[in-house]
Symmetry: C2
């Protein structure tokens, strides 16, 4: 290649450790708690087949044609309606449809972040979020988490000189933790006071298995720099790549221009399929089914951890989402444990990669939705034995 022609930002673009792990173990006969994948048995395959057929029969020309950068108008309106139920009173003009919520995050990062800007981020946080901010060449200010989510006490100092705060308030990936109601109020107030943009990544919003729904942070203060992102990946299916973001009209106008040069627009066909799925009332019963399946699996994993891992590991008790986060004693490295577990056919993700500040080597993430209950029980039992032998 002789001289490299890559841009400076590429020095901070790295492969996803999770993707690599999922790939290397995909072929083998592993019990995997590693991926971020839902179980495809919950996908509404038959409904989507019918809707795809209807859309292509009735509206095929428009569904196959170029569309507006901001998205299919009826879908924008459906999303605005859905967001109203989350306390976010927005017009459909304040909704931008994106190619999954990863793209929503990408557009925000590109629109707001210069190199060396400071991003305030939970520790740990979403891996592909950290990767994205890395590629934007930012500096980090990390905020610790406890059982009530992001610890807000130190926020005024953390926000000082920052450009953007990134939070996943519901059933966070990777911890499964939820930001408490009191802290939401405090967080919303602090970012407005500091004049810092906030990105509220609520991809898991509807996957609540118990407890009351809490107000979205973005609905608690009038903030022109509050951007809320969501996705149909978790509640319909990820392979269709439809997500969204909402924000103030001025922010949406700029993000729409950016979206247009990025990929022109999100797929016309898939946007219409998603719209029909919502309009014909499939969404709510679909979410109910998901909740029942995933709640049961969470309970199976929590019970198995109690049976097999008590005393050697501590773990989070999520009210929703897809992940349980485990912590070993300070002196232990979860990537050493992974090697032993792999040899016995069990896969999980070591936690270091989720920490923007280099900590968390003694943590790891378990996905509780992608394996069936039998495999969960068996995998956690093997994991417990492995840890005990390793520590002994």
């Amino acid at each position: 290649m002789n001289k490299s022609l890559f841009a400076q930002r590429m020095g901070r673009v790295t492969p996803s450790a999770i993707m690599e792990l999922v790939k290397t173990t995909a072929a083998g006969d592993y019990i995997s708690f590693a991926s971020g994948l839902p179980d495809p048995c919950v996908f509404p395959q038959e409904a989507l087949r019918t809707l795809a057929d209807d859309v292509l029969t009735r509206d095929g020309r428009a569904a196959l044609q170029y569309g507006a950068a901001e998205g299919y108008p009826p879908l924008r309106a459906s999303v605005a309606e859905m967001l109203a139920q989350r306390g976010l009173v927005v017009t459909s003009n304040q909704v931008l449809i994106t190619t999954g919520s990863q793209q929503a995050l990408d557009l925000v990062a590109r629109a707001l972040l210069n190199p060396e800007d400071r991003v305030v981020i939970e520790s740990p946080s979403y891996l592909a979020g950290i990767q994205l901010f890395d590629s934007a060449e930012v500096d980090y200010q990390t905020v610790p988490m406890d059982a009530e989510g992001m610890v807000v006490e130190g926020l005024p100092a953390a926000l000082n000189g920052a450009k953007l705060l990134y939070t996943l308030p519901n059933f966070q990936n990777p911890t499964g933790l939820t930001l408490s109601a009191t802290r939401r109020v405090e967080l919303a107030r602090r970012v407005v006071e500091a004049g810092v943009a906030i990105v509220e990544d609520d991809a898991y919003h509807d996957l609540r298995y118990d407890g009351e729904r809490l107000p979205t942070v973005s609905s608690l203060e009038k903030n022109p720099w509050a951007i809320y992102t969501g996705s149909f990946s978790k509640v319909i299916a990820p392979g269709i790549r439809v997500g969204y973001l909402c924000g103030s009209p001025a922010v949406i106008e700029r993000l729409t221009c950016l979206k247009q040069i990025t990929d022109l627009h999100t797929g016309s066909l898939t946007q219409r399929i998603v719209y029909e799925y919502c309009a014909r009332g499939f969404l709510e019963p679909g979410i109910q089914r998901l909740r029942d399946v995933y709640r049961a699996r969470r309970d199976v994993m929590l019970a198995a951890l109690q049976d097999h891992c008590s005393g050697v590991v501590t773990w989070s008790r999520p009210q929703g989402g897809m992940f349980i986060f485990c912590t070993l004693t300070e002196d232990r490295d979860a990537s050493d444990l992974l090697q032993l577990a792999l040899a016995r056919g069990v896969v999980f993700v070591p936690g270091a990669g989720f920490h923007a500040n280099g900590s968390g080597r003694n943590t790891f993430r378990l996905n509780f939705v992608s394996a069936d209950p039998e495999k969960i029980r068996s995998g956690i039992s093997i994991l417990g034995d492995t840890i005990r032998e390793w520590l002994a």
Copy 2:
């Protein structure tokens, strides 16, 4: 909004003049030569309906699940095979599936360009390409075009100190011009000598209506920094958003990492539909049909220009693609003409926006594929009358 939190690059992110024009005229009863849209009557609606149904019946779980950032393996292999027919001998690992070829261009710009890098670009060039390079905060070196495409004589000087050259060698948008065989050899050699990356945007490759297929520029020299982009938008349908790029293994590896943080991957369902479309032999006959329809429309527009615009305008005679480019005398501004034409119900795109160097005010672009032959004849007749009265 008080203080702006936007990144510096947003100062160079602007709405698309074409999109705005298409939007304002969409409601009215216009004959439009303005858009970049194909005629939806050519979309293979019925075939795609059948394929969507088959994919969701047979392979629904995988088609709705997350996929690999680099794309669906069988589709990557199909693209590699297709590219072999264009002289590009690549393995499927050298193919990256993208969310339309606009995203291919976006990934390349992000991977290679630092602010103030110099980009060598044809004058005129693709509008959303210019918008994208603008957002990358680059400087331009423009290269003029004549009937044989980019004028290569001045290349050694133009390439001096440049990072990347962007070219659309076949039926360029907006001019419809094609780079001659001799110049392709010269261009391929000059970029290698200069150590400059080349992006060959070949979105219109298959839309050739007469003349011999010419070798792709990327196939003419061994160049680790040659990147070739293509799309299924023009030969199947744009609303499915599936494009691709190919390049050296090292470049593809880095672009795949970037793709992953950008939108994780291109839609699993739509990639499978496109794969089946190719695998079951729909592509070649579909392209033949397209060629027949579009060739006839080009001929109608060229004849109408001859009948109504001789002596007041000159125009390109494209061997393919979707566009004819018109030139008024030096002292005239096509945006003044547009106002008069709009009043008579005809829309086109003034050429200034296609020129990165501020020239081209006396040019305009006509799309010859989106209106039917009757409308083309009638629209060009109105346009001819308008120009004559304007000049008189």
